[in-house]
Amino acid sequence: MDTEVEEPLTDAVADAVEDVAAQDVVDDEVAVATEESSPETVEIEETVEIEEIVQFEETVEIEEIVQIEETVRIDRADDTQPANAVTVIEPPTTTSRFSLPRLTLPRLTMPKLSIPGLGRRTEPAEPVAAAEPVEVTESTEVTASTEVAEPELAEPEVAEPAAVDLADDEVIEIEAALEPEADSEPEPEPEPEPEPDADVEPEAEAEANEKPETTTDDEVVEAEIVEEPAPSPKSKSVTKKKSRTGADIVLRVEGLTKRFDETIAVDSIDLEVPVGAFYGIVGPNGAGKTTTLSMITGLLRPDSGTVTVHDADVWSDPVVAKRNMGVLPDRLRLFDRLTGAQLLHYAGVLRGLDGPTVRERTADLASAFALEDALGRLVNDYSAGMTKKIALAAAMIHSPRLLVLDEPFESVDPVSAATVTDILKAYVKAGGTVLLSSHSMDLVQRICDHVAVVVEGQVLADGTVDEVRDGQSLEERFVALAGGRKTVEGLEWLHSFSD
C-alpha cells in the first residue's frame, strides 16, 4: 500500500481498517461488498478533511464515510487481500426504516462511573469531567481516531506498527469511530456531544501534531496505566481491579455458589465482564449457566458470593443494580395473555419509563425485530422465535448498560438471529455490555469477544475468545475441557429395524 498524498483520506481510512483487521479483534463475518461501479470511485477524489471525520457523529457526514468505505474494500479485493482481513460492517441496505433502539444511557449521578483507562490523552485538558462516562468514551474514540488518523497523514508506515500495538479497546474504538454507524443513531445524547467533542478535538489534534509518532503508542498505554480510577464516594471494600485491557468492569461475580439439596449447581464462580465486552458463557447441559445467570440478575438467591454491577451489589442494592441490567431468562414464561405491544408497554413502565417513551421505543423495537404485525396478537400465539424476540425487546426497552441474555438464539431462525446479532453489536459498540449464554460454539466464536467455559458449576477457562481457543476452534477446546467426547457403543439394535 503506497502512500498517495493526493488521497490522504482513503489511505488513512484504509490503513486504519487494515490495522483493525491485523489486530484480529473483529469477527470474521465478512460483510458483503456491494459491487459498486467504477463511477463511484470518482467520489473518492473529493478530498474530505480529517476534521470532518472527527465530526462523524453529525449525520451529514455519515453517508460520505459510507461510500468511502465501500470503495476501499473494492481496492482491497483487487489486491487479493484475504477476504477476512478487512471487516467492515456494511451500511444498511434495507429500504425499510431500520432504526435500532436508541440506547440513551441515563445520566447517573454517581461520579464513580467515570471510566478510566480508556486512553484519555491529557488529564488536565479534559473538559468533560467524569460525570458522563459515555461522553468520555466518545471523546476518547475521537481522540483515538485523531491519534491514528493524523500520524498516518504524515508517515503512514511508521505509524502502522504503533497502531498495531494499540490495546484491544482502543482498536475497537477506532473501528467504532470509523464505522458509518448509520444503522444506529449516535446513541448517547447526540445533542450535548458535539460540544465536548469540539472542545476536545482541537486540543487532541494539537497534541497529536506535537508528539512524535513513535511514542504515540507508549503515550496511549501510559495514559491508561497512569490514570487511576476516580475515588468512588461509595467506597466499597472491593477495589476496582483492572482487567488485562485496563477497561472498567461492569459485572463482577465473586464466589457465587448455589446448591439444590445435594447437588452443587454452581460452585464458587468468579467472573469479570469488562465494559463493552460481548461475553459468552458456554457449557454443556446442566453446567449451571442458567443458574449462574439467574443469580447474577437477581432472580435466584445465591447461597454465597457477591454480584456487583458497576459496584452496586445486586442483592444488597437492588434498586441501582437491577436498573442497569436487562434480563432475558430462559424457560420462564411471559405474560402471554397480553399482546406484544402490551407486553412491551408493561415491561417498559415497570422499569420506570413513561408512556410516550415506551410507545416510541416499542415502535422502534418492533421494526428492528420485524415484529410490527405481531404486536397486535397475543404473545401466546407467537412462535418460539418470535417469543424470544419479544422477550429480548422487553429486556432492552429501558436501555440498560448490561444485557444478560440466557440462550438468546435458541429457536431463532438464522435471519432473525442475524438481526439480533447486529442489534447487539451496535449496542456493544455504543458502550453497552452483553453477557449471553449459549450452546452454539460457532456462534460464540463468531460474535463474542470474551468467553467463559463453565462445566459442572465451575469456570474452567475464561478470557478473550482467542485466549480460550488457544489455536483450536472453540468447539474443540470446549469438548476437551468438558471431558472429551465419549465414543458411543452399543445401540446395534438401532441399526436393525423392528417392523
Binding site: 437491577k322 434480563v327 414464561r333 411471559l334 405474560f335 402471554d336 395473555r337 402490551q342 408493561y346 413502565v349
Partner: protein, 502 residues
C-alpha cells in the same frame, strides 16, 4: 379455588349418588307400576346426561385418542383400552352404584333379577361409551377457547342448580300429581334407546316377557352402535391433528392506555386485562353469581323470609370477588420474573393486583346493596347491606394480599383449562383456603352482629354497621397490603422459585 372446588364437587357427588342409590333401592317396596315409571324416567335422564353433559364439559380430555397418536398403537387395542379407561371415572362409578341398586329394586323374582343383572352390565357399558363418544365429538367441534369456557360455565350452573332443583322436586306430592306424569313419560320413553334397558327387568317383573326381549335387543343394538361409533372416531382421531382456534388480533393497548403509566397502574392494567382474557379468571368470575343463586333458592325452599334473604346475595358475591385474587402470584406462574427483575416495589405489586376486584366489587356493593333493599321493600337496610358488602370485599382483599404473597399454593398453569387440576399436588392449598375463608368471616362478624342488632331494634344501627364495616375493611386492607408488600419486597426471588416449581 381448585382444591376446594374439587373437594366440594366430590362430596356433592358422593352424597348425591348415595341419596339416589338409596332412593332406587327404596323403590323395592313400591309397586311394580310405580317403580317402573320412576326407574324409566330416572334412567333415561341418566343416560341422556351421559350423552349430553360431556358435550359441554369434556372438551379437555385427558384420555383423548389424539394424545396416543404418536405411539403407533393399533386401533383395536386403543379402542378397548380407552373405553375401559373411561369406565374409571366418578360418573361411571356412580352409574355402577345405580345399576347395582336397580338390581335390588327388581329383586322380585328370579327372572327379573337375572334380567336386572344383565341390564346392569348393559347400562354401565352404555353410559361409558356414550360419555366417551360425546366427549370426543365435543373435542372435535367445540374447539375455541371461548366456547369451551362458556360450555364449562353452563355445566357448572346446571350442576349447581341441581341441588335446589332436587330439593324442590322433593316437595312435590308425588303420589297425587307426579306419578301420572311419570307414567306418561315412561311410556313414551320405554321403546327408545334411552329407556329401553331400564324397562327390561320392569317388564319382566310385570309379566310382559314378550316386550322385555325386544327392548333388550334395542338396548344391545344401542350399545353396538355406540361401540361402532367409538371405534370409528378413535380411528379418525388418531390421524387427525388438533385444530387451532383462530388467532384474534387486538388493536391498541387496551387497559394499558387508559390507565396512567406508573408501575402500580400498569400492574392494575395487566390484572384487568387478565381478568377479561384469561379463562381461569373468567371461569372463577362466572361462578360468582351462581353461588348466591343457589343460596337464595335453598333459602326460599326452606321458607326463610325475603327480608333476610336480601342480605345474602351481595355480600356473598363481594366475598368471592375479593377472594378471587388470593392466589394471584401462583396464577402468574413464572411470568412473575418480570416483576422480580424490574425490582417492583411490593406496594405497587399488591395494590395493582387489587384493582380489578375493586373495580368490580365496589360498584356491585353499592348498586347491588341498594337494589337488595329496594326489591324486598326495606330500604332502611341498604346502608347496612352496603357496609357489610364493602367490609367483606375489603377484608377479603386485604387477606388475599397477604396470603398470595406469603402462602401461595399450586394453581392451574396459564394456558391450561380452568377445570384442569393443578399439576403439583399439595394439601397446603386447602388449609390456606379454609383458614383464609374463616378469617374473613371472623373479621366481618362485628358488622353482621350490628346488622342483626339493627334488625331487632332501631334502623339507626344500620348506619353504625355501615361505618364500622368501612372502618374494619379499610384497616384490614391497609395492614394486609402492607404485610403483603413487605413479603414481596423481601422474598421476591423465593416467590419466583415457588412459581417455577409449580
Amino acid at each position: 379455588m381448585q382444591l376446594v372446588g374439587m373437594v366440594l364437587a366430590l362430596l356433592y357427588s358422593v352424597v348425591l349418588a348415595a341419596v339416589v342409590t338409596y332412593g332406587i333401592g327404596a323403590l323395592r317396596s313400591e309397586t311394580v307400576d310405580v317403580a317402573r315409571a320412576i326407574m324409566i324416567v330416572f334412567g333415561s335422564v341418566i343416560i341422556l346426561g351421559f350423552l349430553v353433559l360431556p358435550l359441554v364439559f369434556g372438551a379437555d380430555d385427558s384420555i383423548d385418542p389424539r394424545r396416543f397418536s404418536l405411539f403407533g398403537l393399533s386401533t383395536r387395542s386403543l379402542t378397548l383400552g380407552l373405553a375401559v379407561a373411561g369406565a374409571v371415572s366418578v360418573p361411571a362409578l356412580a352409574v355402577t352404584a345405580f345399576a347395582i341398586a336397580q338390581v335390588v329394586t327388581w329383586n322380585r323374582g328370579p327372572l327379573p333379577v337375572l334380567l336386572a343383572i344383565l341390564a346392569a352390565v348393559i347400562i354401565i357399558a352404555t353410559c361409558v361409551l356414550a360419555s366417551r363418544v360425546s366427549t370426543v365429538v365435543a373435542s372435535l367441534f367445540i374447539v375455541s377457547r371461548r366456547a369451551r369456557d362458556a360450555a364449562g360455565v353452563a355445566l357448572l350452573i346446571v350442576v349447581a342448580l341441581a341441588a335446589p332443583l332436587i330439593a324442590l322436586l322433593a316437595t312435590i306430592d308425588w303420589q297425587s300429581r307426579g306419578l301420572p306424569i311419570a307414567r306418561r313419560v315412561a311410556s313414551a320413553l320405554t321403546w327408545t334407546p334411552l329407556g329401553a334397558i331400564w324397562s327390561v327387568p320392569a317388564d319382566a317383573a310385570d309379566g310382559h316377557i314378550e316386550t322385555a326381549m325386544p327392548k333388550l335387543a334395542i338396548a344391545l343394538a344401542f350399545v353396538a352402535v355406540l361401540w361402532l361409533a367409538w371405534r370409528l372416531l378413535v380411528a379418525k382421531l388418531l390421524v387427525t391433528p388438533t385444530s387451532h382456534a383462530g388467532r384474534v388480533g387486538y388493536t391498541g393497548l387496551g387497559w394499558f392506555e387508559r390507565l396512567p403509566a406508573t408501575p402500580m397502574w400498569v400492574v392494575a392494567a395487566r390484572s384487568l386485562t387478565y381478568w377479561s382474557r384469561d379463562s381461569r379468571y373468567r371461569v372463577a368470575l362466572a361462578v360468582v353469581p351462581v353461588v348466591p343463586i343457589i343460596m337464595i333458592l335453598t333459602l326460599i325452599i326452606a321458607g326463610v323470609p325475603a327480608s333476610t334473604i336480601a342480605w345474602v346475595p351481595v355480600p356473598v358475591m363481594c366475598l368471592f370477588i375479593g377472594w378471587a385474587v388470593h392466589n394471584d402470584v401462583a396464577h402468574d406462574n413464572s411470568a412473575f420474573w418480570l416483576h422480580v427483575s424490574s425490582n417492583i416495589s411490593g406496594r405497587d405489586d399488591r395494590l395493582g393486583r387489587l384493582a380489578p376486584a375493586l373495580f368490580l366489587g365496589l360498584p356491585l356493593a353499592l348498586v347491588g346493596g341498594t337494589l337488595s333493599g329496594l326489591i324486598v321493600g326495606a330500604p332502611e337496610i341498604i346502608p347496612a347491606v352496603i357496609g357489610l358488602s364493602v367490609c367483606v370485599l375489603l377484608v377479603a382483599l386485604g387477606v388475599s394480599s397477604l396470603i398470595s404473597a406469603g402462602f401461595p399454593y399450586a394453581a392451574v398453569h396459564p394456558g391450561d383449562s380452568p377445570f384442569a387440576q393443578p399439576q403439583a399436588a399439595g394439601s397446603a392449598g386447602s388449609v390456606v383456603q379454609t383458614l383464609s375463608f374463616i378469617g374473613i368471616i371472623v373479621a366481618t362478624a362485628p358488622v353482621i352482629a350490628l346488622a342483626i342488632i339493627g334488625s331487632m331494634s332501631a334502623p339507626f344501627w344500620y348506619w353504625i354497621a355501615l361505618a364500622v364495616g368501612l372502618g374494619i375493611g379499610l384497616v384490614v386492607l391497609y395492614f394486609g397490603v402492607l404485610a403483603g408488600a413487605r413479603i414481596v419486597s423481601r422474598r421476591a426471588p423465593e416467590l419466583l422459585a415457588f412459581t417455577v416449581q409449580n
